[in-house]
Symmetry: C2
Subunit: 134 residues, 2 copies
């Protein structure tokens, strides 16, 4: 049993993977037979991930604020605390805060056999992000 | 992409697995190549799991309130929002609320190849639960 209270420090979301200021707290890392990787991700207003896919899919669970998510070719959806979103393996998508609201979610997935959690693509442009809601 | 907003309903924690009133919201279920199972578990004051183990270990992430956890043979530990606890595969343990405080945590794990998430043992007695903190 390992209790982690005060470390590691909250990290800044890498600029290659996010637009805007994003803060990431690690929650779980693959260990032994478990491939589970989880983090609590805090998006400041207007911040969002780049387009990306996950080899084994991903679940996000909104814990605070108001957010947005979209799969490639689909409408932009509003997500709120208590909402869960499952992204299929290989499904191109993004998620983030609403333009004028903070949003925090838990992000959970199983890494693949090589230990990879995601494949990252281009940033979500202001034009894409600003489209009307679906 | 599947957004789940209002279902399934919050479930009551089974009396075989918990002492006291516990409310469980499913967050993620194994799907395709992902073995991830996650739920948001709400413990009313004094409520706790029975002793149990997980084949691939488990991570809990406290999101609200004040809780307790203990591995077999170790001290009772206090857990608070932001704390993460990793329980090793096969490690006998319990977790729950403080006697006078509500506690909510996200519980996350990978099920095993047979789809099993846990092996349940006896309840945590009032005497065990009431021991001094470590």
């Amino acid at each position: 049993m390992q209790i982690t209270r005060n470390d590691p420090a909250t990290g800044a979301g890498p600029a290659d993977w996010f637009t805007g200021a994003v803060y990431v707290d690690p929650v779980a890392t693959p260990s032994g037979p478990s491939r589970l990787s989880a983090s609590s991700v805090h998006f400041t207003p207007g911040a969002r991930t780049a387009w990306h896919t996950h080899p084994n899919g991903q679940t996000i669970f909104v814990t605070e604020g108001v957010g947005r998510c979209q799969r490639r070719g689909g409408p932009i959806e509003v997500i709120r605390p208590g909402d869960r979103v499952f992204f299929e393996p290989g499904e191109d998508h993004w998620h983030g805060a609403a333009p004028d609201r903070f949003m925090t979610h838990l992000a959970m997935l199983d890494v693949d056999e090589a230990g990879a959690s995601a494949t990252w693509g281009e940033h979500v442009s202001d034009e894409e992000y600003g489209k009307p809601l679906g």
